[in-house]
Symmetry: C2
DNA sequence: GTCTATAGAATGATAGAC
DNA sequence: GTCTATCATTCTATAGAC
């Protein structure tokens, strides 16, 4: 029926990231914005650039999204929504070390397939602030980190979890592996991640 | 006398990052800019913000640095200059696995002590483009990656090197370890990095 | 080394027509 | 859903006085 909300993991329904539906025009804008944000960052991307990339005027963009921040929020919702599904899938068969391995694999799959957006999502100052200030994002990030930490909160566990998380996020954005194709990168990452745990 | 320029390592003198000398006024501006760039990113920081932070007008800032990019370049020079010294020190006693361990330790020290700037340096789109387009930076990054790869260029080595590099860079900026003090963080990082190699 | 004042372009955002 | 036209604000950058 509804989602579980136990002490160990998933959030209550009210705190879940709601999957938003977008019109065709909105989708065109979001697709262009994703590409531009990935290349220039959020602050480095103007509404004029987005409008030009879509092939419409600024006014048309503002008709679809009230503010620039609304575009950022819609994009973050989409990306984190994917991550939420991955986390759900990993926690499906609950408990044990299997959960962590499953989570790792899911996250690696996602990170590799969305390489271009990962850096922006993890490190762009505008998005970092957004994630820190909006309740639903806070709740989700806590759940994700919780799964990564597996209950522990000591320095050793924190550094290890931070390392696994940023190693995955960092590798897929690293110039050294820019030329590698997705499947090679994914295979190597899974191999190395398991050695880290 | 002058620096070595063998096949394996250091760059010729002409390609080394030259240590610039700055006036007191310039240093005040660079210090303020470093803090603001770290928090808002380069694109998210205006010259007005820098001027306000220093306590002068924009015109005074422009008197010290001809353009905003000149400020970015000066900052990147300073930070990479530190890294260059660390790389020099690590390659002092040449060869063997010792070099890699020494490099790791040096880089971790630097990354931990400059936590706030690391994210900007590694991931800010403006700086990423700067590093990719300016010759001296390209040369230095190649040298650094070369030391990290230890000669190998296969996918496995690339992913491993990218992982070590981004694990260090990523961990020190990660919210999970924000509360840890420098020495704890450094110790845990060195421990984990060695297990990665 | 810093100021006032300003130029000229670009920014985010809105009103109203089609 | 998109357009033209416009607003107020901010942006980088410069000229010239002190």
């Amino acid at each position: 029926m509804s989602s579980r909300s136990t002490a160990t993991g998933s959030a209550a329904d009210a705190d879940r990231l709601a999957p938003a539906v977008h019109s065709a025009a909105q989708t065109r804008i979001l697709t262009a914005a994703r590409e531009l944000f990935a290349e220039h960052g959020v602050s480095g991307t103007s509404l004029q650039m987005i409008a030009d990339s879509v092939g419409v005027t600024k006014a048309a963009v503002y008709h679809q999204f009230k503010t620039k921040e609304a575009i950022v929020v819609a994009l973050v919702d989409m990306e984190l929504g994917q991550l939420q599904l991955a986390l759900d899938a990993a926690q499906e068969g609950r408990g044990g070390p299997d959960e962590l391995v499953a989570l790792m694999t899911q996250v690696i799959d996602l990170a590799v397939s969305r390489r271009r957006m990962v850096r922006t999502l993890l490190y762009d100052p505008v998005i970092v602030r957004l994630l820190a200030e909006h309740r639903p994002y806070q709740v989700f990030m806590r759940r994700l980190f919780g799964a990564l930490l597996g209950g522990a909160t000591d320095p050793k566990a924190r550094v290890r979890a931070a390392m696994v998380a940023s190693a995955i996020g960092g590798v897929v954005t690293h110039p050294l592996v820019a030329a590698l194709d997705d499947s090679t990168l994914r295979a190597e990452l899974i191999d190395l991640a398991q050695r880290l745990m």
